[in-house]
C-alpha cells in the first residue's frame, strides 16, 4: 500500500488514496468513491528527481501523487517494469559520482579556457574578412586624440623618413591590412607604441627620441605589426565571447550573478593578452632575423622603455598585468644602455 493523493484531472480537488501494484500486474487505487484500476504497464511513472513527489498517471488522465519514492521504485522492480531513467537518480544520489563529476567538469572547463577557446577564436578569425578588424578599431584613435595625445612635435622630415621605413616593412606583407604609421606626443604615456586593429600603428615622440638607431624603432614597429597581422584584437574579442558563453552555460540564470559572468572574460583577458604579446615578440624577432637586423636591438629598446617607465624589471608580477614581465621577454644587459 502506497499512500498518496489522487487528482482526476477535471478539477483541482484531490482525494487521499492508496495505490497497490498487485502480483497480477494490475494497479488499483483504494479509498476512493469510484473504482480506479489499470494494467501496471499502462501507467506512466514520472522520473525520480531529488525528493520531489512522484506522479503515477493513469490511462484516463488521473494522477496519483505520492512522496513515497522508494515504495514506487520497489513496486516497479517487483513487477519488472523497465525504463524510468532510475540510473540518473542513482548517479545523483552518490557523492563519489558527484565529486568525480565535479572534478571532471572543472578539469574540462580549465582545459577549454586554456586551449579550446584560443584555438576556436583563431579558427573563427581566419574565416572572418579583414574588414572585421577595421570595424573594431573605428573611433579609437579619435578618442585617444581627445584624451591622451597631442600632435607630434617631431620634425616633418624625420616623420617622413620613418613612415617610408614603415611602408617598406608593410607593403610586401600583402595580408589585406591597411597599415599606416601615426606620430603623437604624449606627456602621460611616455615612450610607447601601440597598434590598432585597423592597421594604424601609433608611436610617441618619446619613443623615437629614446631609440638609439632606426633599427631599434623598426624592431618595435615589427612587434606592433605582429599584433595587427596576428589579428589579436579580433581574437581577443572572440575569446571574450567564448568565455562569456561558457560561463553562462555553466552558471546559467541566477540574475544576481549576471554581473560577475560578464566580468569573467576580463579576468582572463590579461592572460590571453600576455599570450598575444609573446606572439608579437616572436613575430618581431623572426622578422628581424629574416631581414638581417640584429635581434638584440629589440631587447635593447624594450629594456630602455621599461626603465624609463620606472618599473622594476623583475616586477612581482600581478596576475592581472597585460604584458609579460620584461625579464621574461628579453635579456637586459648593461650594454643595452649604451
Amino acid at each position: 500500500m502506497i499512500a498518496g493523493r489522487f487528482f482526476d484531472g477535471t478539477s483541482s480537488v484531490g482525494a487521499p488514496a492508496h495505490l497497490t501494484l498487485g502480483a497480477d500486474g494490475i494497479a488499483r487505487l483504494h479509498g476512493l468513491p469510484v473504482r480506479i484500476e489499470a494494467p501496471a504497464d499502462a501507467l506512466k511513472f514520472s522520473e525520480r528527481v531529488g525528493s520531489i513527489p512522484r506522479r503515477v498517471t493513469f490511462p484516463d488522465g488521473g494522477v496519483f501523487e505520492t512522496r513515497d519514492n522508494d515504495a514506487i521504485d520497489e513496486a516497479r522492480e517487483t513487477l519488472g517494469l523497465k525504463g524510468g531513467k532510475a540510473w540518473l537518480h542513482r548517479l545523483e544520489s552518490r557523492w563519489n559520482v558527484v565529486l568525480g563529476s565535479l572534478a571532471t567538469v572543472v578539469l574540462l572547463s580549465v582545459a577549454f579556457v586554456q586551449w579550446g577557446v584560443p584555438a576556436i577564436a583563431n579558427q573563427v578569425a581566419q574565416v572572418m574578412p579583414v574588414q572585421a578588424d577595421r570595424a573594431i578599431g573605428i573611433g579609437t584613435l579619435d578618442a585617444f586624440d581627445r584624451t591622451l595625445f597631442e600632435p607630434s612635435k617631431l620634425p616633418a622630415k624625420r616623420r617622413t623618413e620613418l613612415s617610408k621605413e614603415f611602408a617598406d616593412m608593410t607593403s610586401p606583407l600583402g595580408d589585406g591590412h591597411q597599415y599606416q604609421l601615426e606620430f603623437r606626443n604624449s606627456e602621460s604615456i611616455g615612450a610607447n607604441a601601440f597598434a590598432l586593429p585597423s592597421g594604424i600603428v601609433v608611436m610617441t615622440d618619446d619613443l623615437v627620441k629614446l631609440a638609439k638607431s632606426d633599427e631599434e624603432i623598426i624592431a618595435v614597429l615589427a612587434h606592433e605589426i605582429g599584433h595587427v597581422r596576428g589579428r589579436h584584437a579580433l581574437r581577443q574579442l572572440l575569446q571574450a565571447a567564448g568565455i562569456s558563453a561558457l560561463a553562462v552555460a555553466l552558471l546559467g540564470d541566477v540574475s544576481s550573478i549576471s554581473g560577475i559572468l560578464s566580468g569573467a572574460p576580463a579576468l582572463l583577458h590579461a592572460k590571453h593578452s600576455r599570450d598575444f604579446e609573446r606572439e608579437a615578440d616572436a613575430f618581431a624577432r623572426q622578422w628581424l632575423r629574416e631581414h638581417d637586423i640584429d635581434e638584440t636591438k629589440f631587447d635593447a629598446i624594450l629594456c630602455r622603455m621599461t626603465k624609463t617607465a620606472g618599473q622594476s624589471e623583475t616586477e612581482a608580477i600581478d596576475y592581472f598585468s597585460s604584458h609579460p614581465p620584461t625579464d621574461e621577454r628579453v635579456r637586459c644587459s648593461p650594454a643595452s644602455d649604451k
Partner: protein, 367 residues
C-alpha cells in the same frame, strides 16, 4: 496537516456559506545540497554530449524546482519534453547561424533584419509563454495562456514606440503593460488570471529606481574621471590590473562600494517589480500576496555574489535555491474559496493527441 482544512474550506465555499479568508503560503523544499548533485551530473552529461543533453538537463532542473514548490501541501509539476526543447534550441541555433552568415556576406542586410525581428519577437513571446504554461500543472490541472499575437505586438512593440515618442516618460506604463499581458492572459485550468495593479505603483518604483541608478552612475563617473582620465599613466589597452594600479587601494574600495550600491538598486527593482506583478494577480476568489523586502533580497544577492566569487562558482546551486526560496516563501495566496474550486477545460489536461501536437508546435525557446 493544513491541506485537509483547506479542502474543507473549499467544500464550504461551494455550498455558498460565508467563510473567512485564509492565507495559504508557498513552501519551497529544494536544498542546495540536493540541487548541487543534480546540477553537477547535468553539467557533466551536457559536456560529454557536446551540449545535446542540456535539453534533458533543463527538464530535470525544472522538474526538481517545480516539484519542490509546494502550495497547500501539493507540488507543481513540469511536463516539458526534452526533445521539444532540443528541437527549439536547434531552430534557434540554425536561425542564429543564418543571421551570422547573411550579415557577414551582406552587412546591409541587418537593416532588413530589423522588421523581421520586430515581427518575430511577439510570436516568440507568445509561443514560449504558451509552452511554459501548458507544461506546468498543479494538482493535475494544467496552466494555460490565452495571449494573442496582436496583444503581444501591442504590449511589447507598439508600446515601445510610444515610449520613444514620449521620451521615456511613460516607461513604467510599458513595464505594466508587459506584465499585465503575460500574467493577465495566464489561466489555471479554465480560470483566467486577472491583473489588477494600477499604473501608479509602477510609476513610483520605476522612477525611484531611475533616480537611484542615476546617483550610482554619477558616483561611478566621478570616480573614473578623478582617477582614470586625469591621470592616465598606463597603456591605452587597459587590463583590470592596470586599473587597480591607476586608482589605488582607496579607489578600489570606492569602486567596490559603488558596485554594491549598483547591486542594491537592482535588488530594489526586482523586489518592487515582483511585488507589483505577482501581488496584482487575482484568480477567481483568490488573490496573490507578494511581500518581498528589498533589503532581504539585496542581502541574499550580495552574499550570493561573495559565495560565488570565493568558491569560484561552486556555490551556484545554493545561490539559486536561496533566491528562489526567498521569492516563494514571501508569496502566498489569500483565498476565500479554497484551492479545490478550479476546474479543467474540456480535455486540456488529458488529451494525449493535443499534448503531442503541442510538443511539435510549442517549441521552447529557452526564454
Amino acid at each position: 496537516m493544513n491541506e485537509t482544512t483547506i479542502d474543507a474550506v473549499g467544500l464550504a465555499a461551494s455550498s455558498s456559506a460565508p467563510v473567512a479568508r485564509l492565507n495559504v503560503p508557498f513552501e519551497f523544499r529544494a536544498t542546495g545540497g540536493e540541487y548541487f548533485r543534480i546540477w553537477i551530473v547535468n553539467l557533466l552529461l551536457t559536456i560529454v554530449t557536446l551540449g545535446i543533453y542540456s535539453a534533458w538537463a533543463k527538464v530535470r532542473r525544472l522538474r526538481y524546482f517545480y516539484g519542490s514548490t509546494l502550495l497547500d501541501g501539493h507540488s507543481f509539476e513540469y511536463h516539458g519534453k526534452p526533445l521539444a526543447i532540443l528541437k527549439g534550441r536547434l531552430v534557434v541555433f540554425a536561425v542564429y547561424v543564418v543571421f551570422l552568415v547573411v550579415t557577414e556576406m551582406w552587412p546591409l542586410a541587418v537593416l532588413l533584419m530589423i522588421p523581421i525581428v520586430i515581427f518575430a519577437v511577439p510570436w516568440i513571446i507568445v509561443k514560449a509563454r504558451l509552452f511554459q504554461m501548458r507544461m506546468t500543472s498543479y494538482r493535475n490541472l494544467r496552466f494555460n495562456f490565452h495571449g494573442t499575437y496582436g496583444g503581444a505586438m501591442s504590449a511589447f512593440v507598439g508600446w515601445y514606440f510610444l515610449v520613444i515618442l514620449t521620451l521615456g516618460i511613460i516607461f513604467p506604463m510599458w513595464v505594466r503593460r508587459q506584465v499585465a499581458y503575460i500574467l493577465g492572459n495566464t489561466a489555471f485550468g479554465t480560470t483566467q488570471f486577472r491583473f489588477v495593479t494600477g499604473n501608479g505603483r509602477f510609476f513610483a518604483f520605476c522612477y525611484a529606481t531611475m533616480g537611484l541608478g542615476i546617483l550610482v552612475y554619477g558616483a561611478f563617473f566621478v570616480l573614473l574621471f578623478q582617477a582614470g582620465l586625469m591621470n592616465p599613466q598606463n597603456n591605452p589597452d587597459m587590463a583590470p590590473g592596470d586599473l587597480a594600479k591607476l586608482i589605488g587601494l582607496a579607489g578600489l574600495c570606492k569602486l567596490l562600494l559603488i558596485a554594491m550600491a549598483g547591486v542594491s538598486v537592482v535588488g530594489y527593482y526586482q523586489a518592487a517589480l515582483a511585488n507589483a506583478s505577482f501581488g496584482g494577480i487575482e484568480i477567481g476568489q483568490t488573490r496573490v500576496i507578494s511581500k518581498l523586502r528589498a533589503s532581504s533580497l539585496i542581502w541574499i544577492q550580495v552574499t550570493n555574489l561573495l559565495g560565488l566569487v570565493f568558491t569560484l562558482g561552486l556555490f551556484y546551486p545554493w545561490a539559486k535555491v536561496r533566491v528562489m526560496r526567498y521569492h516563494l516563501e514571501n508569496t502566498s495566496l489569500d483565498t476565500a474559496g479554497g484551492i479545490g474550486e478550479f476546474t479543467a477545460s474540456a480535455g486540456s489536461a488529458t488529451d494525449p493527441l493535443g499534448e503531442e501536437l503541442g510538443d511539435f508546435f510549442d517549441m521552447d525557446f529557452g526564454l
